[in-house]
Symmetry: C2
Subunit: 274 residues, 2 copies
């Protein structure tokens, strides 16, 4: 693998921002192969020296020089991380200085701000939203949906649960979900229990081939997983969505992040955490 490069992702805290930075950039390059190594909690000069050793070792071993993505807020640590044998790109280095100039304000250079519990109010909102999603998953407590910000409806395995959980974790949104089961279909109308919450509904649908594949992993060769049944169920829910004017998305080729942010945007939901 002559083209394989080692990519180091170095952070003074969790590494989550640095990983997203690296991921967004590397997915723009389709040719080369990358071996990713995340090194979180690099918060002392000694740890930086150890990272430098690892980077140098990779540079010796690989045919190509390593790439180092870092998010280090401390100027000295950032300076110490520079290694000639690698391309080093630091996120704070690129942006902190223009921001300091613009704001006419020194940055705090405090590690661990991004994902710290800065605000217990936001933390509680997040936990509450997670508990809400768990308590209202798959039609549980359907009569207790007054507190929901949004209610996702769709057939079984169309992506409702992961999307609700992601919206809770990322945005603090209280998202319930309600499965439209075969007993609900055939008459092209909403289950009565959802009627009072029509304005909160957001539909999910999915390509029948993909749905059959997902269901076959769970219950192989069942009627539930058969392509015919998946075609019937998805056609029915889409007919309901159109007839009732419920906004909906096709989840087939969308990630949980794409679904969540699209719903947030299209349903004009107010996020509780930032």
């Amino acid at each position: 693998m002559p083209n394989r490069r080692t990519v180091f992702i170095v952070s003074d805290r969790t590494g989550i921002t640095a990983e997203m930075l690296a991921h967004s950039l590397l997915t723009q390059f389709e040719g080369p192969e990358f071996k990713r190594v995340t090194l979180p909690f690099i918060d002392t000069p000694e740890k930086v020296l150890q990272v430098n050793e690892q980077v140098r070792a990779a540079a010796k071993k690989d045919a190509e020089r390593p790439i180092v993505f870092s998010t280090l807020v401390d100027d000295d640590l950032r300076g110490a991380l520079k290694v000639d044998c690698a391309l080093c790109l630091d996120f704070f280095e690129a942006f902190i200085s223009p921001l300091e100039q613009e704001l006419n304000h020194k940055s705090s250079h405090t590690m661990g701000k991004t994902h710290s519990v800065n605000n217990f109010g936001e933390y509680n909102a997040r936990i509450e939203a997670i508990n809400f999603a768990l308590a209202h998953d798959d039609g549980i407590k359907p009569k207790d949906l007054d507190a929901a910000d949004v209610i996702l409806v769709g057939v079984s395995r169309s992506g409702k649960t992961p999307t609700c959980l992601y919206m809770a974790l990322q945005y603090g949104i209280k998202a319930a979900n309600y499965p439209l089961i075969p007993e609900d279909l055939g008459e092209v109308k909403l289950p009565a229990v959802l009627a009072p919450y029509r304005h909160k509904l957001f539909g999910l649908t999915i390509g029948p081939d993909r749905l059959a594949a997902i269901r076959n992993q769970r219950k192989p060769n069942s009627k539930y997983a058969s392509l015919d049944n998946c075609r019937f169920e998805t056609a029915e829910v889409e007919a309901i969505f159109r007839k009732e004017g419920i906004p909906y998305l096709d989840t087939t080729a969308k990630s949980i992040e794409e679904l969540s942010s699209t719903i947030l945007h299209r349903a004009s939901l107010q996020r509780r955490i930032f």
Copy 2:
């Protein structure tokens, strides 16, 4: 509020990367107040022109000029977004060009790569991990833990469930959790059901004051929520963790992200998604 600035977060897709970028940077500045406006799915020249109008309107209204953080992969869209009346910082602009030079490879400039379903294998691993966390939440199916990558143990409301869900979503890790309830405590030993999985255990503890505050929100003035009981339970679980040599974390002032990445790191877990 003379110092309040409008911060626009502009993305051609979900806005999740751009939000994290902006958040990491802005949390480094403690003085100024920011009003954040996320504008996702800005993927045509027409939409960029609309954004420019919004930015100009904010510049007129606010005492200070706006800041625009963007993640636009298309060079033309990025060029069109520049507005003189704002500080514009684009993430791809800063990093794509040094990477192209280093890799000797043009970037694909394809929108929506970061959070797209590039890989159905990874997508399935993620969904499986989420289902696993849900099926093994709070001691459900304790005899079926062979497939767990890690099992979080701790008292009720110490942060186990959100951490398991985050590890599933972010890393594809199969994380179960098992609550240590008062009946399990007092003898400073692990429940028998956990004994076969001792090497997979990771403990969570929490400051008794914080625990009492969280529990009081759920069951006000109960024995469960009393400070005395919270002191007893946390002291007991910490004694078990120490006696049994179970690694553990104090969740009191840690975010879900910090807990998850620390456990991933300290337990040397292999993530299934990147």
